[in-house]
């Protein structure tokens, strides 16, 4: 958690307080705005703020892999049982080329419906059209194998390559028009599948490190680390027959921000040999050893261990927080970098992902809406006032996004990026002081 995150409940209370309608001091019969109304305004404001400012940035892989479909023949559809989940992209169901080409919004083709079938197929298809992830707001950059893709219109693609819908080869461009507003078309259709890792196991979290040669390995390599919490424990194990002892040395372990001088060392089940249940020990703050003994177990502990939070060279996608679930390689793979929609708090105890100062903007938005609503409490002057404050805040955020780039100095004969600026006026060196009089 970064500093001063707030829950929906806390923010609703703040808004009601500033409206002079605090739940703590105003009886329920005399209150003007209820919390459901304010929650609606806050959620609306959150979406509005993020869409207008484009502050949330993320990336995702539109992998050049033969995707599995929901079914490979139309007759299979009738055999789906209630509760069986269609894959999220329900239009990706067309086994034969003529079907997906004539079907509106159809993505495909596909000739298998389970990922494990791929090695046994004589022919696999890589799709040129991929549906954009739901959270995508606007694409900022797209790459294939870390090489930027050009974004031509479909009309330009037609002029460039009359057979652009069927040409296969290296992906060099993409377009977003001509198919469907949310469909990303790669040009050309990928000729070779992307590199991918062989993952041992079918579900759960990634627990071990990996080598970049393409195999996720069970025993962690030294690249694994936990770097989110300023805790990088080095653990070693003395295995013996039937019992083990873990000695973990904490180097420079900081006391928690709350001032606690101890923390809890938790041992999770790991690798092929499982610890039957979580075990923990209290460890002191500062440098020191912690020891935890467990009877009748043999296990393998790498030099560094825990839940993997981040891998070198990989960006956490989807959310700032969480645990990586899937790793995609860049080689021959398509990746998009985009501005995304916000994660709207589902419940009142969920945190906003925006920092506290931005939640004030949401407060202005909600107060503007609350004062504008017809009925008791309506005050159009205050509504205008708060809406104005919200709009100014949005403009401020947009300006800040560009502050760093605009800080670059313009140099005579500099790069093309400075073309729009005026060349600075020639000035004497700073040591030269002219007589002001």
């Amino acid at each position: 958690m970064y500093p001063s995150q707030m829950t929906m409940n806390q923010l609703v209370k703040r808004v009601l307080y500033h409206l002079g309608d605090a739940e703590e001091t105003t009886s329920s019969t005399r209150r003007i705005w209820d919390r459901d109304e304010i929650i609606t305004y806050l959620k609306e404001g959150l979406r509005n703020l993020v869409v207008r400012t484009e502050i949330l940035w993320d990336m995702a892989y539109l992998e050049d892999l033969p995707f599995a479909s929901n079914y490979t023949a139309p007759w299979e559809k009738a055999w789906f049982q209630p509760g069986e989940v269609f894959q999220s992209d329900s239009s990706f169901n067309f086994p034969w080329e003529w079907e997906w080409q004539v079907q509106k919004g159809g993505l495909g083709p596909s000739n298998h419906d389970q990922p494990w079938e791929v090695p046994f197929l004589l022919e696999t298809y890589l799709a040129a059209r991929v549906r954009l992830p739901e959270r995508v707001l606007k694409i900022d950059r797209a790459v294939n194998g870390n090489r930027r893709l050009l974004p031509p219109r479909s009309s330009e693609l037609r002029d460039t390559d009359a057979l652009y819908e069927t040409t296969t080869g290296t992906v060099e461009a993409y377009t977003l028009d001509g198919d469907s507003p949310r469909v990303f078309r790669k040009w050309r259709i990928p000729a070779t599948p992307a590199s991918q890792y062989n993952v041992i196991g079918r579900w759960g979290t990634l627990r071990s490190g990996f080598q970049e040669t393409g195999v996720v390995i069970v025993a962690a390599a030294s690249v694994m680390r936990i770097d989110e919490f300023a805790i990088v424990p080095a653990a070693s194990v003395v295995p013996n027959d039937g019992a083990f002892l873990i000695s973990a040395f904490f180097d420079g372990f900081d006391p928690s921000p709350t001032g606690a001088t101890t923390s809890i060392l938790t041992i999770f089940s790991f690798g092929l040999n499982q610890i039957p249940e979580f075990s923990s020990a209290i460890i002191p703050g500062g440098d020191g050893f912690a020891e935890l003994a467990q009877e009748d177990q043999i296990l393998l502990i790498p030099t560094k261990w825990g839940i993997v939070r981040r891998f070198p060279g990989y960006h956490p996608m989807g959310h700032t927080w969480g645990i990586p679930r899937r790793l995609a390689q860049n080689t021959a793979n398509t990746r998009i970098e985009f501005f995304r929609k916000p994660h709207v708090p589902a419940g009142i105890w969920d945190n906003f992902e925006l920092p506290r100062y931005m939640l004030r903007y949401l407060r202005f938005y909600a107060m503007g809406k609350a004062y504008r609503r017809r009925g008791p409490g309506q005050d159009l002057k205050l509504a205008d006032h708060y809406e104005g404050r919200y709009d100014r805040a949005v403009a401020r955020v947009i300006k800040r996004k560009n502050a760093f780039y605009r800080s670059r100095r313009v140099i005579l004969g500099g790069s093309a990026s400075g073309e729009s600026r005026r060349v600075p006026r020639a000035q004497p060196p700073w040591q030269v002081v002219k007589d002001p009089h």
Binding site: Y2, Y357, R360, P436
Partner: protein
Amino acid sequence: MTYDELIDEVLTRLNEGTSAPPVYWNREDVQEALVDGLLDLSDEVEWNEEVVHLLLLARRPYYDLRTCIEREILSFRGGFSIATQRWLTPRDTRELDFHIYTLWEDNTGSEDQAVLRGLWWLGLHPRPEGDGNTIRAYVTTMPADPVMSEELPEIPEIDEALREYAIAEAYGQDQQTQQYLIHFASYERAKERIRSYVENRLNYDRNWVFMER
């Protein structure tokens, strides 16, 4: 002047005696308003400038400034590489793609260029090969919540700005719209003077030295 003294002033201006029990507004209300005013002022003027060290990790694509710096960051103003002893050149990804090196993301080495994605994601080029290097990041942040017995920040007229903001907030919560707007306008005028002070700190002397006016 301390925040506590400012609270007393605001209560007096609201006709709430500090000795008698409060009628409409108490100290906590005014304190809330002062903190809110400080946040508003800091957000708009960006007077709280800081330099922090950012620990670099091997080939990390982007650093989330919200978590790496652990403050409420407003804007990233610049970076200085300790390894190269150079300032990081601000870049746009289009420049890196089309003018620097097509596969710039594959480059490793000592960082000398930086790109900001969204508002908080800082990318470096080239990416460090190993852990442990640092850059100095020049940022503007929101100040920490003040302790009421502490002095106000040493910025001219900040007491007037906060006082007017707190009075406006008090009237606003009581639906006294006219009073609210009057005092908020006073706050805005004081805020603009503070903004002018912050942005033009050097101008008085500089104008004479460089004959810019």
